[in-house]
């Protein structure tokens, strides 16, 4: 039996992540998807969109406000409860681990909501992985610059070759049980202090 299209509201201040979730929902055949952030007039938007499912990121400080709003039965035609109430423990943990939570209107069948939350969880996790990789790449690039700067100082002040300068940094790091970038940073700082 065909179902009425579910109205889904995504509350996320991270626009990129919200877009990723929205795309996923549309690919899964959900056409009534609204994205808002917490600076919008949230209450009005909720009343307007009359969502069946609300997906919210856990970093959002507005969770308390939204939950209170959901609990006011006069604000909405159908009361909204937390999805995880009716879910199993593993699902709850997976959602909180991923940093997402969902609320659904009372009476909505679990089988209809589970794929939505599963999708949100997997996209939240994928987004977190991407952000982490990006951060690692950025910090690797930053480290590279610091080490190059330190090498340049050694080449200039000690007359070392580039290979020897790097070997000296690496040896010092190993002896002191520290990272090469830390030794490089100390060297840059020290050299800055000694400059006239």
């Amino acid at each position: 039996m065909p179902h009425r299209d579910l109205s889904i509201l995504i509350v996320d201040d991270n626009r990129l992540r919200a877009t990723i979730i929205e795309d996923g929902l549309r690919e899964a055949g959900h056409n009534t998807v609204t994205v808002i952030n917490s600076s919008n007039d949230t209450a009005r938007k909720i009343v307007e969109t009359a969502p069946d499912v609300v997906v919210i990121d856990l970093e959002n400080p507005n969770r308390d406000r939204l939950e209170h709003f959901f609990s006011l039965s006069r604000a909405l035609k159908k009361p909204i409860a937390m999805f995880v109430d009716r879910s199993d423990a593993a699902e709850i943990e997976a959602a909180v681990d991923a940093g997402v939570s969902a609320y659904v209107v009372d009476g909505l069948k679990k089988e209809r909501v589970k794929p939505i939350l599963d999708m949100a969880i997997s996209r939240f996790n994928a987004f977190a992985r991407l952000s982490r990789e990006l951060e690692e790449a950025r910090s690797a690039l930053e480290d590279r610059k610091i080490i190059d700067h330190a090498k340049a100082i050694l080449i200039k002040n000690r007359g070392l070759s580039e290979a020897d300068a790097y070997a000296l940094l690496r040896r010092t790091a190993m002896n002191q049980n520290r990272k090469i970038v830390e030794i490089a940073q100390s060297l840059i700082t020290a050299s800055g202090l000694l400059e006239p």
Binding site: R63, D64, H68, V84, V96
Partner: protein
Amino acid sequence: MLPEYRITAGFVPLTDSMLLIVAKEKGFAGSEGVDLTLIKESSWANIRDRVAIGHFDVAHMLAPMPIAATLGLTPLAVPVIAPMALVLGGNAVTVSTALWAKMKAAGAPDTLAAGPVGKALASVVEGTERKLRFAVVHPHSGHNYELRYWLAASGIDPDRKVEIVVLPPPLMPDALATGGIDGFCVGEPWNSIAIAAGRGRIATVKAAIWPRSPEKVLGVTEAWAVYNPDALSALLRALYLAAEWCGQPANHAEAAGLLAQSAYLDAPAELLRTALSGKLDLGGGQTEQIAEFFIPHAHAATFPAAWQALWFYSQMVRWGDVAHTPENASLAHGTFRPDLYRKALGGIAPALPTLDKPGIQTGPFFDGIAFDSQNLDHYIASQRPYA
């Protein structure tokens, strides 16, 4: 010494998360064998969820939260107990500059006295066509219940004459400035932040509405407490020692510096120092030393008296959160656990409070009425006019 117990605690960046921060940073946790990890959270809903699923072993909680969880009033309801209180007092009611001007004209004094200030507010409410809107941090909070008590005792029906909304504290100062709300009841540093930005005026304080009243507690699932009794006792000792340290005015400046760090409150140290000292800028150039504004240690501040839980329960009944039955009252009463507090602190607390004896154990509210936990039915019935 290697730490014997690894404990992860969630907290919301407010002045009254102080005991956890000080226990870690000043080494009280370490000396009790506790390796304490603190995780900052952005909502009370996250605190509730992450305690329920075991991400956090313990957490900084609004005092009514364990009661609401135990009574099954919240999502993910698992029995949560409060083996320790974390502070008495600390909240204030701040109103917009425009509302304060009207309240002044209606006779509000500059003294923070809850009675006359409430009376002035009542006359403004009567004379204002639209409903004034007040914000609190959470429905199950000391803020909500003390604001409602103050309004009701001042002759203002909090459900019909005004509107009470939930708003995260960081959004309150702006909402006050733009007219989205007319006032709020919140803990520090958020009143001081709004005042420093020239956006409002402190009308009254929790200490004036109900002197020495409970505010935050340490929340723990009953299951965690049962399976980790030694770890819990060690943590309670560390927090007690932290409370002793925090209770010394000479330590306020250092404590403010610890709290100010970006991993914790991420707020100006000077502002936090004034909040800890209780010498607050009320707005409009008036600074006041408020008696017993924020009490981390004195007056048995950390003792989780069961009558405190019953008072919060009486207000949950009063405002329609839960039906009053002997079973519910008993569940609420059992949420605060002085027995665990005593067990942990028998060796170090000089004189353990006897505050959980039956009868009236606390001073009256600003309206002269005291809470008598032995006459709960009568107390609840006497508050019916606005329920």
